[in-house]
C-alpha cells in the first residue's frame, strides 16, 4: 500500500484535468504525477532519511508528499512559525533530511545536521526535470508522514502515519472521481497540520481541483473563492470568524458557487456557526473532529444535522450544533472512565477510537492498547443517538479537592452571557483545595463589563459551588495558536502561584 496510488489513479482518469491552482500556475494531474516521480527519483539517489517541508502551502507540498511516498521516505512538514530554538530541536531529530523551503534558515539552525536544503523553486524545477529517470516505487519503512504535534503541553511528539492509515482514511471516506470538473476546494490550512495533508489526499482522490491559498488572509480567501468559483472549503473557527467579519464589513465577494464548508480544529462558538448558517443559507456546513494520530476526521456533524439543529424545538436536537456529530462508519468510538471501563451514553470520560485510519503511534512508542484502541486524551460524552460532545482535553480537567471539573462546563456558562466575548477556565493552585478554578474573561467591545462578584454570581446561579472561581483575570483577548487552539498553558501563567 502506498498513498501514491491516489495521485496515480487521478492521473490515469484525467491526466489533462487541472488538479491544482497555485500562485497563478495551473497543474494537471499528469504534471503533478510527473513532478512527484521526478522528486522520487532524486530522493532515492540521496542519503536523506526524511523529506521535510519548511514552507507555506504551495505546489511543493503535494510534490514532496507524493515524491517522498514513491521514494519510500517519510514526509515531515514542519511548522515554520516555530521559534528558532524549537525548530532547531526538530531539525536535529530528522537529520539528515532533504529540506524544501526556507533553506537558509534550516542551514543556520542545524548546520551540523547534514541536511540537503533546497528552496521551493529549485526543488520544483529539479523534480520536473528528473521525471523521466523515475524507475519504480520503493517500499521503505512504510511511514507516509511524520507530523510533530503542536506540543501545547510539552516537547512535540513525532506522530507516525503509515500508508495504510492515510489510505484507509481516504478509501473509507472519499469516493474516487466523485467531484465534477467544475468543483474546486480552497485549501488554506498550513501544510504542517494533518488537515493540510488530508485536504490534498481527499481532493485529489475525489478529483476536486485544489485552489491553494499559501497563507490565510480573509480578503484574499474571499477573492480566490469568487475568482476560482470555489465549491468546497475547510476552515478553522477563527478563520470563519474573520471571513464573516469581512463580509459584515462590506466585502461583497460572490460566494454563489460555495456549496460546502467543513470546519474543525477547535471549538466553534454556537453564535458564530448560527451567524454563518444565516449569512450563507445555501452552503452546507459540516463539523469535523479528528486528530493528527487518527489521520484526520473520525466524527462528523453533517449539513442535515446542522439544519435540523437550527430549526428544531427539541432541546436535545438543538444541542447537537454543539456536538461533533457521529463517528465515521469506518471507526469505533468509546467513552471510558479512568479505569478503562466503557461508559454508557450521557457519561463523561475519555474518548477512545479504533479503526484502520487510527495510527496512535509515535516515533518513541505506540499509544494503542492491546486491542488497538487509541486514547485520545480528549474528554467527551455520547448522547443517546450516538452524537459525540467534546469536553476539553483530559489533561485540562481541574481537580478540586478530589472533584473533577471540566473547564467546558464553566466556559459554556460564561460564553452564554451577552457581554462576554471569550472565556477560559483553568486549574490554579489553591492552599485549601490543592487546585481550584481560575477564569480568564474577555469582554466584547462597548459592552458593560461585569465585575468579579457578578462573574462569580453568574456561575453560582448555574453550577455547583465548587465551580465558582477562586481567581479571576480580565483581559482584552485570550491567546490562541494559528489553528485556533486556546493556549491554556499561557492562560495558567496569568494566575498567582
Amino acid at each position: 500500500m502506498n498513498i501514491s496510488l491516489i495521485l496515480e489513479m487521478a492521473a490515469e482518469a484525467g491526466a489533462d484535468r487541472v488538479g491544482l491552482v497555485c500562485d497563478g500556475r495551473r497543474w494537471t494531474y499528469g504534471e503533478l504525477l510527473r513532478a512527484a516521480r521526478g522528486a522520487a527519483a532524486r530522493l532515492a539517489d540521496s542519503d536523506c532519511t526524511f523529506v521535510a517541508l519548511l514552507d507555506e502551502s504551495s505546489e511543493a507540498a503535494p510534490i514532496a508528499l507524493f515524491g517522498a511516498a514513491l521514494a519510500g521516505i517519510p514526509y515531515v512538514p514542519l511548522n515554520y512559525r516555530l521559534a528558532d530554538e524549537d525548530l532547531a530541536g526538530l531539525l536535529a531529530r530528522i537529520a539528515p533530511a532533504c529540506l524544501i523551503g526556507d533553506a537558509a534558515r534550516a542551514q543556520r539552525l542545524d548546520p551540523e545536521g547534514g541536511h540537503t536544503c533546497l528552496d521551493r523553486g529549485a526543488f520544483t524545477a529539479a523534480a520536473e526535470a528528473a521525471a523521466d529517470s523515475f524507475d519504480a516505487a520503493q517500499e521503505g519503512e512504510d511511514i507516509a508522514a511524520q507530523i510533530f504535534t503542536s506540543g501545547t503541553t510539552g516537547t512535540p511528539k513525532a506522530a507516525l502515519l503509515r500508508h495504510a492509515n492515510l489510505l484507509g482514511y481516504i478509501l473509507g471516506t472519499v469516493e474516487f472521481l466523485s467531484a465534477a470538473e467544475t468543483d474546486a476546494q480552497l485549501v488554506c490550512v498550513p501544510p504542517y497540520h494533518i488537515a493540510g495533508i488530508s485536504a490534498l489526499l481527499s481532493s485529489i482522490y475525489a478529483m476536486r481541483r485544489i485552489v491553494m491559498l499559501p497563507a490565510f488572509e480573509p480578503d484574499e480567501w474571499l477573492r480566490l473563492a469568487a475568482d476560482e468559483q470555489v465549491s468546497n472549503a475547510f476552515l478553522v473557527p477563527t478563520m470563519l470568524a474573520r471571513i464573516i467579519e469581512r463580509m459584515d464589513a462590506g466585502n461583497t465577494a460572490d460566494l454563489s458557487s460555495l456549496r460546502a464548508i467543513a470546519y474543525g480544529g477547535g471549538r466553534m462558538p454556537v453564535e458564530l456557526i448560527e451567524r454563518a448558517l444565516t449569512l450563507l443559507p445555501d452552503t452546507d456546513f459540516t463539523n469535523a473532529y479528528g486528530l493528527t494520530e487518527t489521520s484526520s476526521t473520525i466524527a462528523l456533524l453533517g449539513p442535515e444535522d446542522h439544519r435540523l439543529a437550527l430549526t428544531s424545538d427539541d432541546p436535545a436536537v438543538r444541542a447537537r450544533l454543539g456536538s461533533v456529530g457521529r463517528p465515521l462508519p469506518t471507526v469505533e468510538i468509546e467513552i471510558r472512565d479512568d479505569d478503562g471501563r466503557a461508559l454508557p451514553a450521557g457519561e463523561r470520560g475519555e474518548i477512545y477510537v479504533r479503526g484502520e485510519q487510527v495510527s496512535g503511534e509515535y516515533r518513541e512508542r505506540s499509544a494503542l492498547d492491546a486491542d488497538g484502541w487509541f486514547p485520545t486524551r480528549d474528554a467527551g460524552w455520547l448522547d443517546d443517538d450516538g452524537y459525540l460532545f467534546l469536553a476539553g482535553r483530559a489533561d485540562d480537567v481541574i481537580v478540586r479537592g478530589g472533584e473533577n471539573i471540566s473547564p467546558g462546563e464553566i466556559e459554556d456558562v460564561l460564553m452564554a452571557h451577552p457581554a462576554i466575548a471569550d472565556a477560559a477556565a483553568v486549574g490554579v493552585p489553591s492552599a485549601e483545595w490543592g487546585e481550584a478554578v481560575g477564569i480568564a474573561v474577555a469582554f466584547k467591545p462597548q459592552q458593560q463589563a461585569l465585575n468579579e462578584d457578578e462573574l462569580r454570581e453568574l456561575i453560582r446561579k448555574r453550577l455547583p459551588s465548587s465551580r465558582v472561581p477562586e481567581q479571576i483575570r480580565l483581559r482584552d483577548a485570550l491567546p490562541y495558536n494559528e489553528m485556533g487552539k486556546l493556549l491554556r498553558r499561557e492562560v495558567r501563567t496569568w494566575f498567582d502561584e
Partner: protein, 96 residues
C-alpha cells in the same frame, strides 16, 4: 490473499487492490489474478468481459470480499467463478 496487496489480470490491464480479503480464487476475465502479472492468458472469457472501472469497488453477494479497481481493463471480476458486482457508494460530506 490479504488486504493491501494488488492483483493483476492475466487477460487485460486490470489491477485491483484488496480492501477486504476472502478465501477463494479471484479471477479477471475468467483467469486467476496474481500479485505478479500472470503469463498472457489470451482474451477474456465472454462471460467475464464486461470490463472493470477505475476507482470502483467490487464485492460478492455475501459482502465477504472487496476489491478496488486501481487500473481498468476489458475483463470483469469474479470470486470462485461467481461475478462480482460494484458496491454502491454511500457518500459522506467532505470533511477536509
Amino acid at each position: 490473499m490479504k488486504a493491501g496487496i494488488r492483483l493483476k489480470s492475466a487477460v487485460c490491464d486490470t489491477e485491483v487492490m484488496v480492501i477486504r480479503a476472502a478465501e477463494g480464487v479471484v479471477a479477471c476475465g475468467g483467469k486467476p489474478m496474481a500479485e505478479d502479472k500472470p503469463a498472457d492468458g489470451g482474451s477474456p472469457d465472454p462471460e467475464f468481459a464486461a470490463g472493470t472501472l477505475l476507482g470502483k469497488r467490487y464485492i460478492d453477494a455475501d459482502d465477504t470480499i472487496e476489491l478496488l479497481c486501481v487500473k481498468p481493463g476489458d475483463g470483469s471480476l469474479s470470486l470462485d467463478g461467481v461475478a462480482l458486482t460494484t458496491k454502491d457508494a454511500k457518500p459522506l460530506p467532505s470533511s477536509d
